[in-house]
């Protein structure tokens, strides 16, 4: 229902935008994040600041950004940090805490199936020797899952797996190989699918 003619586009962008504000024509910019296209024009879909970036191409990329944690949902291929909640012989259930380095405000559940724990000797994997409840695990999203299942995750890469684990005596264990960790207090060894921690994940 069109009652009033649409408001003319603003020549100068206000410092803060609200959803629905018209930015420019698609001929002037390439739409980035926080914007949408309608009738050949780019509109803001977020409350935030305008950001124009020249990335070597002809047209600058226009985005609307919020400096506060942008709303991320786990997506296929994303590296997530999760906490193991329960395990059984077929899979481990986890809570996804982080997507990349952005914390999630609400808990999302994920599943690491037995065959997705490691890349080689998949048939010899035992979930009990890979994870324990409470472990902090780095994993990659392989599928959003179907109606019944949750996010499906994998740790079948050297960089993925357990990063923080506690021994039965409660001390934080140190990795000694890709499949074992040792308790500094009792010196007992426990099995885990250990991640080879990369420097960029170290502070996480």
């Amino acid at each position: 229902m069109q009652i009033f003619p649409p408001t003319p586009p603003l020549p100068v962008f206000p410092p803060c935008l609200s959803p629905g504000d018209k930015l420019c024509s698609v001929e002037d910019c390439i739409p980035g994040t926080g914007v949408y296209l309608r009738h050949g024009y780019i509109y803001s879909s977020l409350a935030g600041y305008v950001l124009r970036k020249n990335e070597g191409e002809e047209l600058p990329v226009i985005s609307v950004v919020r400096e506060t944690e942008t709303q991320l949902l786990p997506d296929v291929g994303a590296i997530v940090t999760c906490k193991v909640t329960s395990i059984n012989p077929r899979f481990a259930k986890v809570h996804i805490l982080y997507v990349g380095s952005t914390p999630l405000k609400d808990r999302f559940r994920g599943t690491i199936r037995k065959e997705d724990v490691r890349a080689t000797e998949k048939d010899k994997v035992e979930t009990y020797k890979s994870f324990r409840p409470g472990d902090i695990v780095l994993a990659k999203v392989i599928s959003l899952g179907d109606v019944q299942s949750n996010y499906l995750l994998t740790t079948a890469e050297n960089e993925l797996g357990v990063v923080v684990a506690h021994s039965e005596s409660g001390a934080q264990m140190v990795p000694i190989s890709w499949c074992e960790m040792q308790c500094p207090r009792t010196h007992s060894k426990e099995f885990r699918k250990v991640a080879r921690v990369q420097p960029e994940y170290l502070q996480a």
């Binding site: 906490k83 805490l97 982080y98 380095s101 914390p103 609400d106 923080v164 996480a204």
Partner: protein
């Protein structure tokens, strides 16, 4: 990255602060959050107050209605306090009938009213055996960040102090209400509560946030009035507490009572001068 440590290992995160005798929000162990009060902001209620203890926000609205007293207590009215934790105030609450926590809080407030005699139900009687007031005190949490009980008792007390009842005369059989003439309630006592959490079975912290509450090993709420009398001590299970520690809690609670009563008096006065 502190945030990562916080979500992954919340208990260790809090322990690292408590070791240094402080808390993640920068408070000392025995420090309350800033408490603010707004009185009489809801004009549809007969009395109202909004309390903020840190982030925790509770609004109390009092509606007075007329009813018959019971046969057993013909000279008494009713006070009906209820605490509501709507899904709006935190993602932990779901829509539906009151949760166990809301029920327990309602009962706690009812117990405080009864044991402290903040209002004597005799004052609510209009005509013995025939007509009396019922005060519906609805406490609604708008932002849940721990220590609900303290916020509720302050909100209730402030709202009761703000409540105005219209004059009722009984001519022949039907009552007549005159909205032009109102009177305030007589507040006999000023009960104020102070809540504590026990951390790792030994460390005592006051005014816990929602996160601290979720990691506690025991919880304790002490209610005292202006004459330093104990009205209620509420400790729903958890680890045991030494008598010494309990004494410490009680003396902190009496100090808290003074602070809050001063705050309520100050706000009530400023509302009166504004009118």
């Amino acid at each position: 990255m502190a945030a990562g440590f916080k979500t992954a290992e919340p208990l260790e995160y809090h322990r690292s602060f408590l070791k240094e005798n402080c808390r993640p929000d920068g408070r000392e162990l025995s420090e309350f959050r800033t408490t603010t009060l707004n009185i009489g902001s809801i004009s549809t209620a007969d009395g109202s107050a909004l309390v903020k203890v840190g982030n925790t926000t509770v609004i109390c609205g009092i509606k007075a209605e007329l009813t018959n007293p019971t046969v057993e207590a013909p000279g008494k009215g009713y006070i009906v306090p209820n605490v509501d934790l709507p899904p709006l105030c935190s993602s932990r609450f779901r829509p539906g009938p009151p949760s166990e926590q809301a029920q327990a809080a309602s009962q706690f407030v009812a117990d405080v009213i009864e044991s402290s005699e903040v209002i004597q139900t005799e004052d609510l009687c209009i005509e013995r055996g025939k007509l009396c007031w019922v005060l519906y005190c609805d406490l609604m949490c708008l932002d849940y960040d721990g220590n609900l009980l303290d916020a509720c008792t302050i909100a209730l007390l402030a709202a009761l102090k703000n409540t105005k009842l219209p004059e009722v005369t009984i001519s022949t059989e039907t009552p007549e209400v005159n909205l032009a003439k109102t009177r305030g309630l007589h507040i006999h006592k000023h009960p104020v509560s102070a809540s504590f959490c026990v951390f790792d079975d030994s460390i005592l912290i006051v005014d816990p946030t929602a996160e601290e509450e979720s990691l506690k090993t025991a919880q304790l709420t002490v209610v005292t009035d202006e004459e330093d009398r104990l009205c209620t001590v509420h400790k729903p299970g958890g680890t045991s507490l030494s008598g010494e520690k309990l004494q410490e809690c009680i003396s902190r609670a009496t100090a808290r009572q003074r602070e809050i009563q001063k705050l309520i008096d100050k706000v009530t006065r400023s509302v009166k001068t504004a009118q």
